[in-house]
Amino acid sequence: MAYLQGSFPIIQKQQFNSDTYSFYIRCPEMAAQTVPGQFVNLKIPGFSLRRPISVCQRDDEVLRLVFQIRGEGTKELAALEPGMKADLLGPLGNGFPQLPPKAKVILAGGGIGVPPLLALAQVYGRNATALLGFRNKESLILEGEFAAECDTRVATDDGSFGYHGFVTGLLERRLSEGPADMIFACGPLAMLKGIADIAEKNQIPCKVSVEERMACGIGACLVCACRTVRDGKEIYSHVCTDGPVFDSREVVL
């Protein structure tokens, strides 16, 4: 598979709340090759390093990216408007493993970790349960779009919407209702740890998507190290090529 890189037009922009945006970018060749869980590395003028952003959804022509303003780079990114172009390098990373569409899967997402799971909701449809955690009602995103695809449950830390508590609480509940073939998780480290522990206890395979600072995005620079255990030996794998999706028993969270 070849990597692609180029400047592609932003054809639509949504703002969800004070700091979260959705961009639809027309890049047919790249979109056609992308699988759920992969990401693109985005160049923002004036910054040395590209910014990795997961693909939220794709069709044959268009990639959808959802991102949150976290620092200077994403702030500049949010200022782009439809008609302007974004410089993307992708598709990158391994993506989520593919199960038969009838597999019972749990999608556990927290905050800005929620968007990459939407593509999976579309794949597994009603066989998927989405457990989405947010700080509060204001930061809730994509809930309607998940609900249109699959069984969707929301938790907020402050109880201002849905379940009062964390995604881990929703997961315990969901597992009490019946088994699952796999858990796909994406979100803050603390959440991933909690999910991985529950998966371990319940003997359910669990795949987590992790983050690390990057430069090349393609395995050439080795900066995006991530502690993993393979064949009983602890090594530094690389998020951009060995990940971002790792088995929860393999990665040291």
Binding site: M1, A2, Y3, Q5, K43, F47, S48, L49, R50, L89, E212, R213, M214, A215, C216, G217, I218, G219, A220, C221, L222, V223, C224, A225, C226, R227, E234, I235, Y236
Partner: protein
């Protein structure tokens, strides 16, 4: 139009080489354009044994640059020779092995192992700022630098290029030491030691606290050092540090570099080397320069 340059008996079809640590073992950027487009590849730094490198975070952004603290993560010389180098067999570009060690003996061992390999050239990395033992220490002291080179020289007849650290008071005397000790060529610069702190956590951004600065920010320092060294030694000099556009390559070559390497710029634009080659050719055509060798060292200082 001739773009070919010769360094220590090795012919590069053009003066553009990818810098060590920025292009893995050559396979990654080959997915964008065939490595045959390049004069050469300086492969990821190797050590006698596998190294896992430093804990993350290993990268920080800086104005017109970046810091890295990879710390020579590599599979070790054995795995390289068995698993990686064969992938490059038959590929028409100059393959340079970048080698480091924690002791003089380890450097000597690396030279010996590489001598028996199909590698085209050895680049002795005596300038890695990101490892505790050895690394930079060898590159910041004339006599230690010379010891490393002498020991490697004994063990190999392959062209031996020595890569210098810019974190020194007097780059010229280091360059002369490695020339006297038998180096066939010099490459410079490796990264400058830098730091960033996350003001919200009050922790260094890099887990190693400090790391190596590269990218356009360092270009003027690299150019100055290349000019100084090229004027002081007789062996060829390969210039690097902050090169991002064709103009930078021309500047480096005018300053005295016979070839250049490109590192951090790849991360922003993987096609940088290809665009640079196009730019150089256009410029040569415009200026009526038929041989790139004609510009090397042609600077007219005041």
């Amino acid at each position: 139009m001739n773009l070919e340059v010769k360094i220590a008996g090795v012919t590069f079809k053009n003066p553009i080489i990818l810098a060590s640590g920025c292009c893995g073992f050559g396979q990654e950027y080959d997915k964008f354009y065939p490595m045959e487009a390049l004069g050469g590849l300086s492969l990821k730094g190797l050590t006698p044994n596998e190294r896992q490198g430093n804990p993350p975070p290993r990268v920080a952004e800086t104005p017109s640059g970046m810091l890295n603290s990879v710390g020579l993560q590599n599979p070790g010389i054995d795995a390289f020779l068995e698993r990686e180098l064969p992938n490059l067999a038959g590929r028409d570009t100059v393959k340079i092995a970048n080698a480091a060690g924690a002791t003089v003996e380890e450097y000597a061992y690396m030279a010996q192992r590489l001598d028996a390999s199909p590698i085209d050239m050895i680049e002795a990395n005596i300038s890695c700022p990101n490892v505790k033992q050895g690394g930079a220490a060898f590159g910041t002291d004339c006599s230690m630098a010379a010891q490393v080179v002498t020991a490697m020289r004994k063990n190999t007849t392959k062209p031996l290029m020595v890569k210098l650290s810019p974190n020194v008071t007097d780059i010229v005397s280091i360059a002369k030491s490695v020339e006297d000790a038998g180096a066939d060529a010099i490459s410079l610069i490796n990264t400058l030691l830098g730091m960033r702190i996350d003001i919200s956590t009050r922790r260094p951004v890099l887990h190693q606290n400090v790391g190596g600065l590269s990218g356009p920010a360092v270009f003027p320092i690299a150019l100055r050092m290349v000019w100084q060294v090229a004027g002081a030694v007789k062996i060829p000099v390969v210039g690097l540090g902050g090169i991002a556009k064709w103009q930078d390559v021309i500047e480096m070559m005018i300053a005295g570099a016979k070839a250049v390497q490109i590192g951090a710029a790849l991360f922003g634009d993987p096609f940088t080397p290809v665009k640079i080659l196009e730019g150089i050719q256009q410029w040569m055509e415009q200026k009526g320069i038929s041989d790139i060798n004609d510009i090397i060292g042609s600077v007219q200082p005041y």
